[in-house]
Amino acid sequence: MAKGQIVAGCLAPHPPHLVYADNPPQNEAYSEGGWETLRWGYQRLARKLKNIDYDAIVIFTPHWQTYIGTHFLGLPEFKSKSVDPVFPNLFRYNYDLQVDVELSEAMRDAASQEGIITKMMTNPDFRVDYGTITSCHLLNPEWDKPIVTISSNRNTHYYSPEVMIEQATALGRACAKAIEESGKRVVLVASHSLSHRHFVEEAPLPEDMSKEHIYNHSQYVWDMKIVEMMRDGKSREVIDIMPEFTEQTIAETEGGGLIWMLGAMGFPDFPAEIYGYQSVIGTGNVIACWDPNDDTREYVL
């Protein structure tokens, strides 16, 4: 059996606004569009993924928050309706998705062997979180690949951003090992925004782009600093500065997704592909991809 490998790592923010703006048949809400910079970026990245041969998507989400260890989806199919608890007016999405349980269990075992507290989630009534649904929908609207969702253990709040870096990196290493041993080709997804201060009021028409802007300039400057480092292939430095970034911008990086993904990829020193940056209800969002293949890596934007 050939060694498994990580064929791409995507930073894929999950504002439900982006699915809402797309008007897919699965979503009950209707929009007049909005947030094209991000949606067109997502469409371009989705086209790139179509040209990559892979078996499964493994996604780390901050909206499955667990305090007692890291949990993994552990049943082959989940079918239900995901209603966003914060933006239910925008996101009521009927999903029907497949899970690569074999890969999920292998990653869980590898993590346990590393001393990480883990749990398989095998309750058929469990609702898959909207972060998973949004990022996966935008990266693969056909839903023709099985996924694995990994929960976000709340290390940043419970201990510190530094502990989160240690734990999420160890989890990433363990997942990479399991992927290698599985013989599978896998796309990793870290599902989150960068700066994460929201406006607490919503425009009467949420997709009214004349109302959309970053919460404040400081958030923007921080986001650009991070994007610049990603472009320059300084992924280790992104992680080193993350405790301060997370604190200063209330960043959604606190969930550990990007740390986990870059840790699994061995903190790549090649440039990230940038597909777009835009604010959504004040938060900063970048779509980025780390393509380890020198022949297919592009300079996108």
């Binding site: 007692i68 260890g69 309706k81 239910p88 749990k119 095998t122 709340r154």
Partner: protein
């Protein structure tokens, strides 16, 4: 709202959000004591003349202002993110939609951003599901659930409580108000044998017991004033502040004239779980003075960032 038009709040309940008392009460003596305390509260609600059960849940965070559950019949099967292995929680809750809509208007009158949510399949949070399922299993009394805004602090939370008073008085409804919140909220980060459950640390236990003394003495306003200390000492810093006592005091009345009763205090995976009742009474207790201003209207956060910068 006239000063004399005071709402009638029959009693308040403070109870924990975790699902063990609902799903696995027999797993430990502590969980079954919490369950018994919930059952006692259910009985008292049944014997009361309450027209509405009003829930403020710390496990329902919101961003766009304050969300108010308004779906007439909320039906779903809920599963907890951490304790999914304890089982599913099917529910059917009947909301007081009339209350919910007026509550939104009254929030807005007091300067708060607010909205009702009325969507089939809306994910009602674990804390609300546990509380309503145990306190009002047959929907004898309609209920309403209020979210806890992630960014809101003292002023907003107190004004939210006052908007509840406005609404209850307007509709002339007798209410039982329920806060769903742990005391200390640090849980063990590994799986444990429920029989060996205990409060996460001595410090958390000491603080919890001090808070329980205040509750027992009916000193709700004093607890409200101590919220920032409580937040710093025994709350994992997930949100900006410990808000339940602010909301409960603003809703029930900002004073210390209550009969408090601690029906149970037990560990829930390390966190402090207490079931407490507070009934308005006469006679004042309290030995503290505070100078934090009361607040009637919310006028937004003071923007410190823009002040004092070079022009």
């Amino acid at each position: 709202m006239s000063e004399t038009n005071e709402p009638e709040i029959l009693f308040g309940i403070y109870c924990p959000p975790h699902p063990q008392p609902l799903l696995s009460p027999e797993a430990s003596e502590g969980y079954s004591k919490l369950r018994a305390a919930y059952d006692e509260c259910r009985k008292r609600i049944e014997e009361s003349e309450a027209d509405i059960i009003l829930v403020y849940s710390t496990t329902w965070p919101s961003i766009i202002g304050h969300q108010i559950q308004a779906l007439e019949k909320a039906i779903w099967t809920h599963v907890d993110d951490d304790f999914h292995y304890l089982g599913s929680m099917p529910y059917e809750f009947h909301m007081d939609t009339e209350f919910a809509h007026s509550m939104k208007e009254n929030c807005e009158k007091r300067g708060l951003e607010a909205r009702t949510v009325e969507y089939e399949g809306f994910p009602i949070d674990t804390g609300s599901v546990v509380a309503l399922q145990l306190l009002n299993p047959d929907n004898r009394i309609p209920s309403c659930i209020l979210s806890s805004n992630m960014y809101s602090n003292r002023s907003e939370t107190i004004v939210l409580g006052k908007a509840v008073r406005d609404t209850l008085a307007q509709q002339n409804k007798k209410a039982v108000v329920v806060v769903v919140s742990s005391l200390s909220n640090r849980m063990f980060t590994e799986h444990i044998d429920p029989k060996e459950d205990r409060i996460h640390s001595q410090k958390d236990d000491d603080w919890n017991r001090k808070i329980l003394e205040f509750f027992d003495d009916g000193r709700l306003e004093d607890l409200s004033q101590l919220s920032r200390d409580i937040h710093g000492q025994i709350r994992v810093q997930k949100v900006v502040a410990y808000k339940p006592a602010w909301w409960l005091a603003a809703t029930m009345g900002q004073h210390n004239n209550y009969d408090g009763e601690v029906l149970a205090y037990e560990a829930l995976h390390g966190s402090g779980g207490a079931v407490i009742t507070l009934t308005p009474s006469t006679g004042s207790v309290g030995d503290k003075e505070f100078d934090e201003d009361d607040v009637e209207f919310y006028r937004g956060d003071r923007n410190v960032l823009d002040k004092g910068t070079l022009e």
